[in-house]
């Protein structure tokens, strides 16, 4: 099978869907003439023209809301945030408009749109460019939140997100755009709301999503050398969450470690821990552990970045503690 970059997978997903449906457009900062701040939309202006690939001024609140208004009136916008850190100035339109419109109108105005862009840290970018708001958006009824971890998932999930009739928050990573992975030539879609068992195992379930899946996978490789068999689950979607797959896994492994790039308080891992203890209490042989970022803003220096982020060593320690090794 051919191998393509994460950014190419996203571009293919958007381009294929735009060829199918003339009412889809892409709007955001630098998406057109600059070919995308991270080259996700490279070449799309040439193919689809300025009517459908639209550069905006630096006005996230304004163009976020223009997207919601367009979605109310028959279009299917893809709104790109250069990073979700910048979505904070548009969050009123995401939470108060996009997520509420269908409900407030008693089912008259659904919002078929995608807000997409990179999330979380990407090196030494300092505190304001390094935040993960997956749990913020996942907290809000009316939204769906998708966080792919590889090119294959990115393409299949983005196509589904674009076809979805509800607003979808689609969160990528600057550090994944260059990642290569196998993506078939033929069309496929992946269901939103279904987790993916990346690797079967018997001793512990490791749950993660997005870029930080790499940390989980690296830890599992090391642990295998010690004879610890890890079942690895990629959530793919953090709203809704596929609890059933997690519970089935815990029934088999009796142990769970969650790895997440987010601050610990009220994170996705907090929610998973609650649900798994509630639905899988009798199957657990050890407390659930989680690895999150540190409970601080990210600092610039390399030592501070390293201390802040989850890493394989911390995951290995957690797995060993729940397997009593």
């Amino acid at each position: 099978m051919r191998s393509i970059q994460f950014r190419e997978a996203l571009r293919e997903a958007m381009s294929e869907e735009m060829r199918r449906d003339p009412n889809i457009f892409l709007m955001g900062e630098e998406v057109a003439e600059y070919n995308g701040a991270y080259k996700v939309s490279q070449g799309m202006l040439d193919e689809f023209g300025p009517k459908r690939i639209i550069d905006t001024p630096i006005s996230e609140l304004g163009f976020g809301g223009i997207g919601v208004g367009a979605a109310m009136n028959g279009l299917r916008p893809i709104i790109e945030f250069m990073t979700f850190n910048f979505s904070l100035v548009a969050i009123d339109q995401v939470i108060n408009s996009a997520a509420k419109m269908y409900q407030m109108s008693g089912g008259q105005f659904n919002i078929p749109m995608v807000f997409r862009g990179p999330t979380a840290s990407a090196g030494q970018l300092g505190a304001q460019h390094s935040q993960a708001f997956e749990n913020w958006y996942a907290n809000t009824p009316g939204l769906k939140v998708v966080v792919p971890s590889n090119p294959y998932d990115a393409k299949g999930l983005l196509k589904s997100a674009i076809r979805d009739n509800d607003p979808v928050i689609f969160m990528e990573s600057e550090q994944m755009y260059g990642d290569k992975g196998e993506v078939p030539e033929e069309e496929y879609l992946l269901d939103i709301g279904k987790a993916h068992i990346v690797q079967e195992g018997s001793d512990v379930t490791i749950v993660s999503f997005g870029k930080i899946m790499k940390v989980a996978l690296a830890a599992a490789q090391e642990l295998a050398k010690d004879g610890i068999s890890c079942e690895i689950i990629d959530l793919r979607t953090v709203r809704p969450i596929d609890y059933a797959t997690l519970i089935e896994s815990v029934k088999k492994t009796n142990r769970m470690v969650i790895v997440e790039e987010a601050w610990p308080l009220a994170s996705i891992s907090s929610e998973l821990t609650y649900m798994v203890q509630k639905l899988g209490f009798d199957y657990l042989d050890a407390p659930i552990r989680r690895i999150t970022t540190r409970d601080t803003p990210l600092g610039y220096a390399p030592t501070l970045v390293e201390e802040f982020l989850p890493n394989p060593a911390r995951v290995i320690e957690a797995v060993k503690s729940v397997t009593y090794r």
Partner: protein, 331 residues
């Protein structure tokens, strides 16, 4: 003002529409006192000429969006008194099926894109609605209302910039009633002629007498015409006045009785009534009959609402997602 431009039918329609808004809102005030209507409730009394003048100037395919003082706009767009009143009662027969209440009236059928609750939040939405019309190649426009408080939001400035850049077919209207809740325009800005905000973006902008249906109609008609021709947005500052407080819980102690009385002398319904009578387009008796018919409709809407059921408890989940089998978390 060229009053001869408007014929008998237009004046009678204005009279009927404004009287409907006035009597409907008076009934709402009464029902709010009786706790039949709950939540926040912002009345439109005094501002009726703005919606009446707008409705005669646009087409039924044009889209209308506003903030939370939305009963007048919903009535103007043609949503039935039954559906609006039932919504205020929180009944399932309401125009938003009991999900919205006073601040969130909606009707796709009547091209009313809602009542929105965050000050200024509807401004980019109104531009987005216009964006879709332009994208789809229609000749329809979007009319986006806001209050004088909303012009202080960043959303206005971001939206004005893009609406002008892309020549979106939208008419932005600030209904300047002088007060953002309890704070007068004078106390929030150095620039008290609000229409001048549009000039910063080279947007055609004007001040309009909001107590005159004729003036409102003419301003919106020419703005709509420009929008339909692809010439882009217009910003109209329509100077109006609300006779009541900001919401039902506001006794409006921040302004004088004299000020309120001064505006009541310019009451738009009285002006239209005088014009109709002086032109002998109708007699006092004819107008009284219209008023009686309106009171009947309003009273019927109360009865309809009283007799309608509330949504079932399970309906809480009915319209959160378009997806029918969304797996909600149940504790």
């Amino acid at each position: 003002m060229a009053k001869q431009k408007f014929n008998k039918e237009t004046y009678l329609r204005w009279f009927e529409q404004m009287m409907l808004m006035r009597r409907f809102e008076e009934k709402c005030a009464q029902l709010y006192g009786q706790q039949k209507i709950k939540g926040f409730c912002h009345l439109y009394i005094g501002q009726e000429a703005v919606v009446a003048g707008m409705m005669s100037a646009i087409t039924p395919d044009d889209k209308v969006i506003t903030a939370y003082r939305d009963h007048g706009h919903a009535l103007g767009c043609g949503i039935s008194t039954n559906e609006i009143m039932a919504e205020l009662f929180g009944k399932v027969t309401g125009c938003s099926k009991g999900n919205g209440g006073s601040m969130h009236l909606f009707s796709k059928e009547h091209n009313f894109y809602g009542g929105h609750g965050i000050v200024g939040g509807q401004i980019p939405l109104g531009a987005g609605i216009a964006f879709a019309e332009q994208y789809l190649g229609t000749k329809n426009i979007s009319v986006c209302f806001m209050g004088d408080g909303a012009v202080r939001q960043g959303s206005l400035n971001e939206t004005f910039n893009m609406a002008m850049l892309w020549k979106l077919p939208v008419v932005f209207i600030v209904e300047n009633n002088g007060y953002a809740m309890g704070t007068s325009v004078q106390r929030t800005t150095n620039l008290q002629d609000l229409y001048k905000l549009g000039l910063a973006y080279d947007m055609p902008s004007a001040q309009v007498n909001g107590m005159s249906c004729e003036a409102v109609h003419e301003a919106i008609e020419s703005a709509a015409d420009r929008a339909r021709k692809g010439e882009g947005p217009t910003f109209l500052e329509i100077r109006t006045y609300r006779y009541r407080g900001h919401s039902m819980s506001d006794p409006a102690k921040y302004r004088s009785k004299e000020e309120v009385e001064e505006y009541k002398h310019k009451d738009p319904i009285e002006q239209v009534r005088k014009e109709i009578l002086s032109k002998k387009w109708a007699t006092e008796k004819d107008l009284d009959a219209i008023e009686d018919e309106i009171m009947n409709r309003v009273n019927e809407s109360v009865e309809f609402s009283e007799n309608s059921p509330y949504p079932a408890a399970q309906d809480l989940y009915a319209h959160v997602y378009h997806q029918e089998d969304y797996p909600f978390i149940i504790e």
